[in-house]
Symmetry: C2
Subunit: 451 residues, 2 copies
Amino acid sequence: MGLEHLLADIVGQAHVLTDPGLTASYETDWTGRFGGRARAVVRPADAAQVAAVLRACAQAGVPLVPQGGNTGLVGGGVPRGGEIVLSTVRIAQLAEVDAALGVVAVGAGATLAALQAAAARVGEDATLDFAARDSCTVGGVVACDAGGARALRHGTARAHVAGLEAVLADGTVLSRMSGLTKDNAGYDLPALLIGSEGTLAVITRVLWRVSRRLPARVTALIPLASVAEAGRVLEALRAHAPSLEACEFFVRDGLEIVLAHQRRRSPVGDAAVYLLAECAAAADPTGELAEALDAAGVRDAVVADDTIGREGLWALREGHTEAINAIGIPHKLDVGVPLARLGDFLERLPQVVGAAAVTGEARVIPFGHLGDGNVHVNVLGPGPQDDRVDDAVLELVVGLGGTISAEHGVGVAKAAWLERARGADELAAMRAVKGALDPAGQLNPGVVLPL
Amino acid sequence: MGLEHLLADIVGQAHVLTDPGLTASYETDWTGRFGGRARAVVRPADAAQVAAVLRACAQAGVPLVPQGGNTGLVGGGVPRGGEIVLSTVRIAQLAEVDAALGVVAVGAGATLAALQAAAARVGEDATLDFAARDSCTVGGVVACDAGGARALRHGTARAHVAGLEAVLADGTVLSRMSGLTKDNAGYDLPALLIGSEGTLAVITRVLWRVSRRLPARVTALIPLASVAEAGRVLEALRAHAPSLEACEFFVRDGLEIVLAHQRRRSPVGDAAVYLLAECAAAADPTGELAEALDAAGVRDAVVADDTIGREGLWALREGHTEAINAIGIPHKLDVGVPLARLGDFLERLPQVVGAAAVTGEARVIPFGHLGDGNVHVNVLGPGPQDDRVDDAVLELVVGLGGTISAEHGVGVAKAAWLERARGADELAAMRAVKGALDPAGQLNPGVVLPL
C-alpha cells in the first residue's frame, strides 16, 4: 500500500491533502523566501495519530516537516521538497483553565490568540504575546521558544511550559501533563524539545502556565536622539518601575515605512530612535512610569492608558514586519546582543551591511526588544540570494558576544551559521542528540543542524 | 603514567586525595545508606581542569562521580566502588551581582548559603532555599533541580538558571553565560543537563537569576484536624494571599520527634496535621494572611513576623530530617502527588507501608511541601534492606498519577523504579540521550538509569 493510503487509514481521507490547490498554502512561508513541494499534507487529530503517521513515514523512508500556523521566518516549518507536511491544525483543543494550579492544557494547533482569550475569560493572562498571535500556534511557539515583547518580564515560551506532550520520531509519546511543579524522575526530555524546531519531536499538547491578569496598563512612546539615550531610559525604567513589562524600540526610517503603509501621521516629534514602554500592574502604574521618565530627563512622550490609545502606539511597533514586507523581500535577521554592546552594534550595523551588499543599495531597518537586547534586523535592497549581507550581520553579532538567533529559531536560514555561533564541539553534541532521538533523520531534515 | 599521576599533573598533587583518612568524607553519604570506596578524589579548579580530568579518566577507562556538598539523599553523589570522585569544592567563585540583568555568576562548588548571602548583600534574593543550604552546592542544586519550600512561588532550580557552563564526558565545554533572555541558536543542552544528576555532564558554573528582596515576611503555624482541612486552608491562602511563598506541612508524630530532639515544647495545641505558611511582600503581608485564615475558618494559629519567631517555627519543619535521622536510618522517599489526590495518598500511606514491612514495625512520618504536592515520606522501623517498603510507597504514588522523585533526584536509590514511572519507551529515549553524550558510560554510572 502506498504511503498516502496508509496515511489516509490513520487520519481519514479528508485529511491527506495532495491537490496542489489545497497544499499550496502549506508549502511556502509567508515571506516568500522559503518553501518547496510537499509530497502530501497530513492533518492528524491527536498524539496517537501523530505517532502512527511518524511510524508510517519512517517505514516509507519519507521525511516529515511539522507545521503550526506557518508564521515562521526562518524556513523551519515548510517543506524543502518531497516531505510530508504534518499540520497540527486539528489538534486545537483548549481545556478549561485550572485556576488553582494556574495552568491550562492546550492543543499544539490552537492559536496563541485562542489561548490568550481562554485565559482572559477567567481573569488570567497567558503573558506571552507577539504580532503573529492570530495565526501562530502554541505548538510552534513552544517548538521555537518564542519570546515577544513581554518576555522581558515573563520569560520566553520555556517559562510558560508547565507540561508537555510530544511524539518522538519512533512514535514514542512523551506525556508530562501532571502539572507537578517538582518532578525529577529522569531526564527532562520536554525541556530539550522546547526550541528544537520540530527536529526532535512533534509537540502535540502543552500545559501552559498562566498568571493573574494585571488590569491596569499604561504605554509610552518616547522620541530620543540616540540608542545610548534609549539605554539610559531603560535603566531608569528598571530602577523606578517594577511594573515594566515591555521596552521596545524602532528607528526613524522604520517608523516612516510603517506610517506610509498604515496611512497615519506620527503621534510624536521626529527623532532618531523611538522607545515604546509599557507598564502593567494590579493598580494604575502611571505614577511609576512618570517617575521613571522624570528620572531619565524625558520631557517629550506620548502616554496612553486606554485600550485604543495603547493599541495605536503598539501598531507602530508591530506594523514593522508587514510594512517592510509590503515594499520588498527583506533579509531578516533576529539577533541578540548583550545590552552593554547594543549601542555599538546598532552604530556599526549600516556600515557593515553597506560594505557587504553586492546587489542593490542596502536600507537597514532595525527594531525590536530593547529590554532584552533582541534586535530584528531587516535589510531591503540587496537581492534575496545576496547572502553576504546576512553573513556580515551575523559575524558582527558573534564578535560582540551575541546570539545569531534570539527568538525566531535557526530553521534552514541560519543552519549553516550554527557551527560558527556555538563551536564545532557543541555542534557535534547537538548532532549526537539528534542522532539518538531521530537516528534516520526523519524529522525536519536540514532545519537547525545543517545537512 | 598512572591515572593518579595524570590527575596530579592537571590539578596539582595536593588536590588528588587517595589517603583513606582524607577520602572517607567523600565516600559515604550523610544518611549512611549509600557509598563505596573511591579510587581517588580529585578537586579541579575550573572547567578547563574538569575537561582534562574527564579526558584522562576516559583514556584510563575509569568512571567518574561528580560531587558537590555531598548532601544528596539518593546516593547520586558518592562512589559505588572504584570510581574517581570529582569534587567541585574549589570551583566556588562568586561574581558580583549584576543588578541590571538580575543575575549572578557562581561556581558550582559555592554553597547555596554563600549565594544567598551574596544576593542579600545587594538587596537581592536568590529565592531558592532548603535546609541543607549551608553545605549543599549550587552545582548540586542545579544537577538535581532542587526545589525546597519556596518553589511554590519561585519555581525549582530550573527557573533560576539564566546560564550554565558544563563539561561533557568527552571534555567539551558548553558555555552559555551571556545572560541573554532570548537565545535560540540550536538545542538547549543546558536545559537537558538541569536535573540529570551528573550523568550527562559536570556543571561548573551557573548564571543564577535573582529577584528584588521582599523585606516583609510573616509566618503562621496552624494546627488542623486533617489533610483535607489543610487543603482547604491552602485554597484560601491561594485565593486571598498573592504574597504566599511557602505552604508546608507535617504531622503529630513528626512534630513530637522534632520537639524531643530539639528539647523544645510545642508552640501550638495538639493536632493531627500542622500547616506552616509564609507570606512575603514589599509591604507587610499580615493583612493578606489574616484574611486568608479568616476565610478558611482558622481560629487557632501562631503567627510570627520577627526573624527569631519565624525561625523558631521553621525549625520545627526543617528539623525533621535531622531529628528522624538521630533515632534510626529511615527509608526516605521524596514523592509528588497531584494536590487532588494528596489526601487519599496520606490516608492510605500507613496501611500500605505496614502491610509491606517485613522487618520491624513501620513508623511512617510524612512531611513536606503541601503547596506543590511534594511529600517526604520517612519510614522508621523496617531494616535498610527491606526494599518492599519503598516499593509499596512508590507503587501507590504511580497509581495516583504522581512522581517517584520530586526534588531529591533518582540517584541509585530509585533507578530501578524509573521504567515503572516513565514507561519502557521513554526510558529507552533517555538511554539514547545518555549514549549520545556519554557513549562509554563514564559519568556517574548506575545513577538515574539502571545499569
